[in-house]
């Protein structure tokens, strides 16, 4: 097959390109230039592009750089800022996969005559007996990234490869070291690529939106503290609320951005028996009934009853009440075995 391998300059995608080559595919590496601003942790700094290019040279494959900066601004950075303005908690890595990697890049790959797009994600594409595609967790439980690629559908899965998804991370690093790739010992990226570790989220958002101070009130409506920026507060947050020490632990129950108000309460107040979900996507057909729900990239799953209104909206009812999930966060549904992704979406406000 002709495969376009997205190479971020990290070890996983470096080894992915090598494995594809070994499997006899005709491989071209591509690094996406997504962000023109300051970056120190991300996947599109000049030094990361240098790493990807050097690895491609060592593997003797062609390497391209595509500039998808406009798409990234439109599909990832803009919505990230808007979500904070609306008091929601976005997941930009998921939006990048949804709007850039598995949309813009994949469509370009199709147009250029590639049969598949590969990435270094730790996830696996499977086939059922009747030929349907499945999306499974990566073999290394600590590195599993099925949560962030849950938006793939049958048509896209048919043209997607995750060459390192069946491997342990240690194995990936050892292959890279054997090949003397300069990315072999490169640390995993941890944070949002367009946010610098020096300025952080506050500096990034502060440059783009007007942050408003907020009142922190308890469930009775009495003011108990203040926050410098209500846009920075997330449901479930416990620190940085200007609350006096001692007393019971208090959590953010809700953020009312319009009124610049943060409501806090104790652990019990945070518990919910249901969550509304929207923007649902499905690996195959929509699913009703008992599912395992994961609400963060590496969080545990909890059993819930999923009832869908239509393909894009529904409600989950927890088997046992769970802490409220911040609006805007992605939830992903897994099968009974907690291995196969069924679909996912975002928690409604």
């Amino acid at each position: 097959m002709k495969v376009l391998c997205a190479m971020s300059g990290g070890v996983d995608s470096s080894v992915a390109a090598h494995l594809l080559q070994g499997a006899g595919h005709d491989v071209v590496g591509v690094t996406m230039k997504l962000w023109g601003g300051a970056t120190d942790t991300g996947c599109c700094s000049v030094s990361d592009v240098d790493d990807a290019r050097r690895v491609a040279q060592q593997l003797d494959i062609d390497h391209l750089v595509f500039n998808f900066g406009d798409d990234f601004d439109r599909g990832v950075v803009g919505p990230y800022v808007d979500a904070h303005v609306a008091g929601q908690t976005p997941n930009p890595c998921i939006e990048c996969n949804r709007t850039v990697k598995f949309a813009r890049l994949a469509e370009r790959a199709d147009a250029l005559g590639f049969d598949a797009v590969a990435t270094g994600h730790h996830a696996q594409v499977g086939r059922t007996a009747d030929g349907r595609y499945t999306l499974l967790r990566g073999a290394d439980p600590a590195k599993d990234q099925s949560y962030v690629v849950h938006m793939l559908d049958q048509a896209r899965l048919a043209r997607t490869l995750f060459p390192v998804g069946s491997m342990a991370k240690s194995q990936v690093r050892s292959i890279a070291a054997d090949l003397d790739l300069r990315t072999a010992a490169k640390p995993d990226s941890q944070d949002v690529c367009f946010i610098t570790s020096t300025g952080g989220r506050t500096a990034f958002l502060g440059d783009r939106i007007e942050m408003r101070p907020g009142r922190v009130v308890d469930t009775a409506g009495d003011e108990v503290g203040t926050v410098p920026a209500v846009e920075m507060v997330t449901v479930g947050q416990r620190k940085g609320l200007g609350l006096p020490g001692g007393g019971p632990k208090r959590y953010v129950l809700d953020v009312d951005v319009a009124r610049a108000k943060v409501i806090v309460g104790d652990d019990a107040d945070l518990m919910r028996s249901t969550e509304q979900v929207r923007d649902l996507t499905w690996i195959d057909e929509p699913v009703d009934g008992t599912v395992r729900v994961q609400a963060s990239a590496h969080g545990a799953t909890h059993l819930a009853e999923l009832s869908i209104v239509d393909r894009t909206a529904g409600e989950i009812t927890w088997l046992n009440p769970q802490r409220r999930i911040a609006p805007g966060q992605s939830v992903v549904f897994y099968d009974d075995a907690d291995r196969g992704v069924l679909g996912g979406g975002r928690v409604a406000h």
Binding site: K33, V46, V49, D62, V65, N67, R108, A111, L112
Partner: protein, 389 residues
């Protein structure tokens, strides 16, 4: 290494193949004649003679005095030296056009200079230049390129000079003539300017050699200081072989210029007309009468440059779009933006640039590759739009 025999190379504005005469002339200076041209012995004096002879030859092509020629490390260095050197020596602010190469534009921006708009073809808007110079009393240098590196537009430097001399009599006038050497008689440019930049690899010379001509003598501060080479204008050990090769390449280019201009004008017209005959919505970015003979810059509707360049690359056709940024990604062209070209149209820009090795067969092969590539991308775009409905 790529098999160059199989390549159709239409990226001469990026770099040109070296002329055989230039390679031959430079080779002895690596293995045999390796002495430092600034040395105190006879072996060194031979190197020095080669540098000085080369200076005479470059000066003859430029129509200036040999002691007005400064050899630098590249075109970018020459441009940087002009802008930074003028401001360091005289203070004040630099002025340039919005379509300048980044080697001029970024220094001007760094120095808080004035960037003047361009017309629809990419040449400086002469009325806007006049207005800017009348409004600002502290302009120390005006930099206006002779030929644009992306779209090939020629600027009338005589007209620019008249405005600068009248409204900013104390300002120096610099021209980035890096893309001009193959196409314009440089003797016709030097009378109008104080400073002029060249880059050897754009005219069949080696990479790593530039020229800054200081017409009328040194009036700016040097950029690189140290051992005092080049009469204190540019320190650093002479790249003797490179300088020798640059002079040979410039002389050969100068000698062939008028015949090559006619030949390559025909070929670039054949290329653009050939594409337009087989493809709809191929816009020639700059009218033929306003650009140099080797430039065939087009904007092709319904395709993206990055995709088109990949398909061309797969078929061994070398071309480019806009200038590449640090990461190697194609940045949206600041030149097309300054010209007022719609961003959607600019997305499909393709810079095909011809040079001394280009043949009719290259042009015909390029047409044969570009046409189906554009059709493939347009079909894919139509299918994608249909699927979304």
């Amino acid at each position: 290494m790529a098999d160059t025999a199989a390549l159709t190379y239409l990226d001469h504005a990026a770099s040109t193949p070296m002329r055989a005469g230039a390679i031959e002339a430079m080779t002895p200076f690596f293995a045999e004649q390796y002495a430092n041209a600034s040395g105190a012995h006879r072996f060194a004096r031979q190197s020095r003679k080669a540098v000085d002879e080369s200076r005479d030859r470059v000066a003859a092509v430029l129509g200036c005095q040999p002691n007005e020629v400064v050899f630098t490390g590249c075109g970018t260095e020459s441009d940087n030296m002009a802008v930074f050197g003028a401001v360091h020596a005289h203070g004040g602010r630099p002025v340039c056009s919005a379509a300048e190469h980044h080697a001029v534009l970024h220094p001007v921006e760094q120095l808080d200079g004035i960037v003047v708009g361009v017309d629809a073809a990419g040449a400086i808007d002469i009325d806007a230049l006049r207005t800017a110079l009348v409004a600002a009393s502290d302009v120390s240098i005006v930099s206006v390129m002779a030929v644009n590196n992306e779209v090939g537009t020629v600027t009338d430097l005589e007209e620019v000079a008249a405005v600068v001399r009248r409204h900013a009599p104390n300002a120096l006038l610099h021209t980035d003539a890096v893309q001009a050497a193959c196409w314009l008689d440089l003797r016709t440019l030097t009378p109008h300017v104080d400073l002029l930049s060249l880059s050897a690899h754009k005219f069949g010379g080696p990479k790593g050699v530039g020229v800054l001509a200081e017409i009328g003598g040194p009036r700016i501060a040097p950029l690189i200081v140290g051992g005092g080479q080049e009469r204190d204008r540019r320190s650093g050990t002479h790249n003797t072989g490179g300088i020798v090769a640059a002079a040979v390449a410039l002389e050969e280019t100068d000698a062939e210029r008028s015949t090559e201009g006619v030949r390559l004008r025909e070929l670039s017209n054949r290329l653009v007309k050939g594409l337009q005959a087989q493809l709809s919505d191929v816009i020639e970015t700059v009218p033929v009468e306003r650009k140099v003979a080797g430039s065939a810059h087009v904007c092709i509707a319904g395709v993206e440059s990055e995709s088109l360049l990949f398909l061309l690359d797969q078929a061994n056709v070398c071309a480019s779009a806009a200038s590449a940024c640090a990461s190697g990604a194609m940045d949206p062209s600041h030149v097309l933006a300054a010209m007022g070209v719609d961003r959607d149209v600019a997305l499909g820009s393709l810079r095909l640039s011809l040079g001394h090795t280009t043949t009719a067969a290259d042009v015909d092969r390029a047409i044969d590759v570009i046409v189906p590539a554009v059709e493939q991308l347009r079909t894919a775009a139509t299918q994608r739009t249909a699927q979304r409905r």
